[in-house]
Amino acid sequence: MTMVFDDRGEETAEFPVRRIKFTINGEKKIAEVEPRLLLSHLIRQGLRLTGTHMGCDTTNCGACTVLVDGRAVKSCTMLAVQVDGHSVETVEGLATASELHPLQEGFREEHGLQCGFCTPGMMMAAKSLLEANPDPTEEEVRWALSGNLCRCTGYQNIVKSVLWAASKMRAASGE
């Protein structure tokens, strides 16, 4: 990222920059960031991965949920410098070139989305759940998603979507 400022003949302002190394969706990256830069802004503006949405800025809505080292994290409340040396996964990392992730299929099959704004965060939170608990109950899904707000669906179909994905993933792993 390059910043160009107007030269007003004054002392050049100091812009503290930190160099960080991290992995995003399996690709290694180096970035130079202001220490105050939010992780969500690094992802959206620095990496141009705009599937991670920002809804509330206060860690309530969960639209910005990503995985850091496999754990669901709200990226609006984490600083970019904190992922130095860590691995970040976003919604763009879910599908391969030829295949959707079962969660993506599940959300489409069970009508688990309407406006789509909360969907990436929902799917990432669900991915974190299913990696820890491949066979969750409806109640466990509801609890795992309780940090993510949706205003369109009423959650019933989101829960079904996650259970659909869990079932497919279990079948694929031969259980």
């Binding site: 400022f5 949405h53 309530n60 639209a63 959707l100 959300f107 406006c115 909360c118 959650y155």
Partner: protein
């Protein structure tokens, strides 16, 4: 034998077709306003007032200008030099763009900074020093009309007080007679609290003025792009053909994204001044404290009753708190929206409604939050009054409603406030709902539980909602008639693109409009692409809100498809070498009446339109339809909830909820059910937790998601949906009625009625929404009603 295509197979009417738009959303490839980056783009932040009511002594922005990376600081005085400090609202009032004389609500826009980076713009906002002289704040209609109340809108001539309007509808004398004849009068006072639609995506815009072409392009979060274009033409004094509004993917609207907000206007002016694209993305607090709120109405209601249960008349007085500027987005003829749709499902001889709107030091709005212009309040008041009336009579809740419903053989029916309803099977819907909840069994269980000290309750709510404004005779916004439009282009290969004047925000238009084309023409839905939201390409329409998309734009899609079919019939006659009168239609195919095997498909007709048209026929296969609906559509629903209230904590849990929606013909049942579940959840939210209130100084309580509670997957109950009752709309081309809002409109009263039913016998007549545990506990413990109205100052 028929050779028609199979409608469900091609994704036509009634197919629960998977959504087209999902393929981009599940991949994180949506294109929301904040995702768009233009070359040279700058970023705008807004400085907001910390006070609810204060005179501005001075604004010193010099330190903000000094911050490297700051390109422009806008203040009200600078806007005023361009005649842009104030803008017209959609309700013939004015609204400050940036404050000049006073701030009139907490969160009002005071200044804007445009900088290279949003972080720099935020820093610079903090460097602006505003000197305020605080004034007393008004936070409810009682204070607004009190003697000696400060006049909030001293900017307006002929505005000596805080009253915006006095409005009435109905039969005053007839209602007086009904009350004189009554055996019993049931009275109820309610407050429907202020709420906020609060889509997860906040509002935002990217204005891009190109000096070389004089064209202004604005990407923005709007549910009504063409209305915005008209408003921008008025405000910015640019010619309409030089304005292009693009509404990309929208992260939920619910009415919040209909009005024109100061942020949009400031980003446009900044782009014109700087000749660079300027992006403004609101944060959540900004969204919650400054953009269109909903509700905030007080009711004084009375029902005149005959001893046997017959309703003789209804009297309603409503006080509406509109905030600092009257900026409701609603049909101009009706000052308090369609609140007079109340009691439309009941056969009532006489009714009278008076309404008074007042200013307060709160955010402006009164948007139709998931409803058709205050129908939510109408249905809530109606069903709370019905419950109280039945209780006062000692009658069963279901029997009382059934006795007073408009009967199936009474349509068309003139409602007590003058609407014309055209269809419905109200008693049948109620019966389906009662059976699903197992009414008799629950009443027995309730009585047994009561004997053991447990509080169970059952709440019924019914609703009929006037959806799909216009007709154009009665409905307009700023004089623009409320019709809608569709444009259909069928390509040579039989594939097609349809564009409408509506704008989807999650309702799935990209899926369902194609299904209507499939139903009318037999072209598979997957061969039809839908595009909306670009004023340079879409036909003029009034946008998506008030559940008007299917009733109006959806009807236009059917009508334009029929125009295409009419031309194809001529092409088919030409291809089959028979006269047009000898050609018959079945889905996807024309054939010769006397020789049904001789036919041509719709796709073959499309090829002919470009390659083999008869002499004298204009080539091509495209058309546009503007649809002016003859009437509103009137869906009906019954919602029944059972709850258990914990008397020790005031916490209540939903045991079961059933929803019986009759919205006529369902285009895509899966999507319809999704809409209903979403609406029920918002209804639950409003009844249980979701409200915005203010302290006596006008500080907004509910300015972020820590204070403004929205239900999560954890709290939200499950819903049982019923679709057994289908009464097609008699005037809609495919028999559909609106559905997107019904559950949010009719749902809240079901929850509240259930809790009040659980409290029956305690003498508690009302608890205002939301039914927070402390309110329910207070009602049970002290056996008294609990009001939710914002406080007046203790030192007043």
């Amino acid at each position: 034998m028929s050779q028609a295509v199979d409608e469900i197979k091609i994704g036509g009417l009634g197919a629960s077709r998977k959504r087209v738009e999902d393929s981009r959303f599940i991949r994180g490839k949506g294109n929301y306003t904040d995702d768009i980056v233009l070359p040279g783009m700058l970023h705008m932040e807004i400085l907001r007032s910390p006070l609810a009511h204060a005179r501005i002594r001075s604004i010193d922005a010099s330190k903000a200008w000094d911050i490297p990376g700051v390109q422009l600081v806008l203040t009200g005085d600078m806007m005023a030099t361009r005649n842009l400090a104030w803008m017209p609202t959609l309700s013939y009032d004015t609204q400050a763009v940036l404050a000049t004389d006073k701030v009139r609500f907490q969160g009002q826009e005071v200044a804007c900074v445009i900088a290279d980076d949003p972080y720099i713009a935020k820093d610079a906002c903090e460097a602006i020093v505003v000197d305020y002289e605080p004034l007393p704040a008004i936070v409810n209609p009682i204070q607004a009309v009190a003697d000696g109340a400060p006049v909030i809108r001293d900017d307006k001539e002929n505005q000596p007080d805080n009253v915006i309007y006095n409005w009435e509808v109905g039969d005053s004398a007839g209602t007086d007679r009904a009350f004189a004849d009554a055996d019993l009068v049931s009275k109820l006072q309610l407050h429907y609290p202020r709420s906020h639609p609060s889509p997860i995506e906040c509002c935002g815009s990217i204005a891009d003025f190109n000096r070389a072409t004089s064209k202004l392009t604005v990407y923005m979060t709007t549910q009504a792009p063409h209305i915005i274009r008209a408003a921008v033409a008025m405000v910015a004094e640019l010619p309409e053909h030089m304005i292009r509004i693009i509404s990309p993917d929208i992260g939920g609207g619910f009415g919040n994204k209909v009005p024109v907000y100061p942020g949009y206007v400031c980003s446009i002016l900044a782009s014109i001044l700087l000749e660079r694209p300027v992006k403004w993305i609101e944060d959540k607090s900004g969204n919650l404290i400054s953009t269109g709120f909903a509700r905030d109405i007080y009711l004084d209601g009375e029902v005149a009753l005959r001893r046997d249960g017959k309703i003789l008349g209804v009297r309603m007085h409503c006080d509406a708190d509109h905030g600092a500027f009257f900026s409701d987005a609603q049909p101009s003829k009706f000052k308090i929206g369609l609140l007079h749709s109340a009691f439309a499902a009941y056969d009532i001889p006489a009714a009278h409604l008076t309404a008074r709107g007042t200013y307060s030091n709160k955010a402006p709005g009164g948007v139709a939050y998931r409803c058709s212009f205050r129908v939510t309040e109408a249905m809530f008041f109606q069903e709370r009054m019905i419950q109280a009336a039945a209780d006062d009579l000692g009658m069963d809740q279901a029997d009382f409603r059934r006795m007073n419903f408009v009967r199936d053989d009474q349509f068309p029916h003139r409602t007590p406030f003058g609407f014309l309803t055209d269809s419905g099977q109200y008693a049948k819907c109620l019966d389906v709902g009662l059976k699903a909840i197992d009414y008799e069994a629950f009443r027995r269980e309730q009585a047994e539980a009561r004997a053991r000290g447990r509080l169970l309750g059952l709440g019924i709510s019914t609703m009929t909602e006037p959806l799909g404004a216009g007709n154009s005779r009665e409905y307009d916004i700023l004089g623009i008639k409320m019709f809608d439009s569709a444009d259909l282009k069928v390509h040579m290969t039989g594939k097609a693109i349809v564009r409408t004047g509506a704008k989807t925000q999650g309702q799935g238009h990209e899926t369902t409009w194609a299904q209507i084309v499939a139903h009318e023409l037999g072209i598979p839905a997957e061969d039809v692409v839908v595009e909306e939201g670009d004023t340079d390409t879409a036909p003029f329409g009034m946008g998506t809100y008030a559940s008007r998309s299917t009733p109006v734009a959806g009807a236009a899609v059917a009508m334009v498809s029929r125009k295409i079919r009419a031309k194809c019939r001529k092409l088919a006659a030409h291809l089959l070498e028979v006269s047009e009168e000898d050609v018959e239609w079945e889905l996807g195919r024309f054939y010769v009446r006397s020789a049904p095997d001789r036919g041509v498909t719709i796709q073959e007709c499309a090829v002919a339109a470009y390659s083999n048209m008869p002499d004298g026929m204009e080539p091509g296969l495209e058309n546009t339809a503007y649809y002016d609906p003859p009437n509103l559509t009137w869906p009906f629903a019954v919602y029944i909830v059972t709850v258990e209230v914990d008397p020790k904590s005031g916490v209540w849990d939903v045991l079961k909820m059933v929803a019986v929606d009759d919205c006529g013909v369902r285009i895509n049942p899966m999507i319809v059910e999704g809409q209903i579940m979403g609406g029920l959840t918002e209804a639950y939210a409003m009844s249980n937790m979701q409200f915005i209130t203010f302290d006596a100084d006008g500080n907004c309580v509910g300015a972020n998601y820590m204070d403004y509670l929205l239900p999560t997957a954890w709290e939200t109950p499950g819903f049982e949906l019923h679709s057994e009752v289908v009464t097609p709309c008699p005037h809609h081309p495919i028999g559909a009625k609106g559905i997107g809002e019904c559950a949010a409109v009719g749902g809240p009263a079901a929850f509240v009625n259930a809790v009040m039913d659980a409290l029956s016998g305690t003498g508690v007549r009302n608890i205002d929404m939301p039914l927070l545990p402390d309110r329910v506990w207070e009602a049970i413990t002290y056996r008294r009603d609990v009001s939710g109205a914002p406080p007046v100052r203790s030192d007043d």
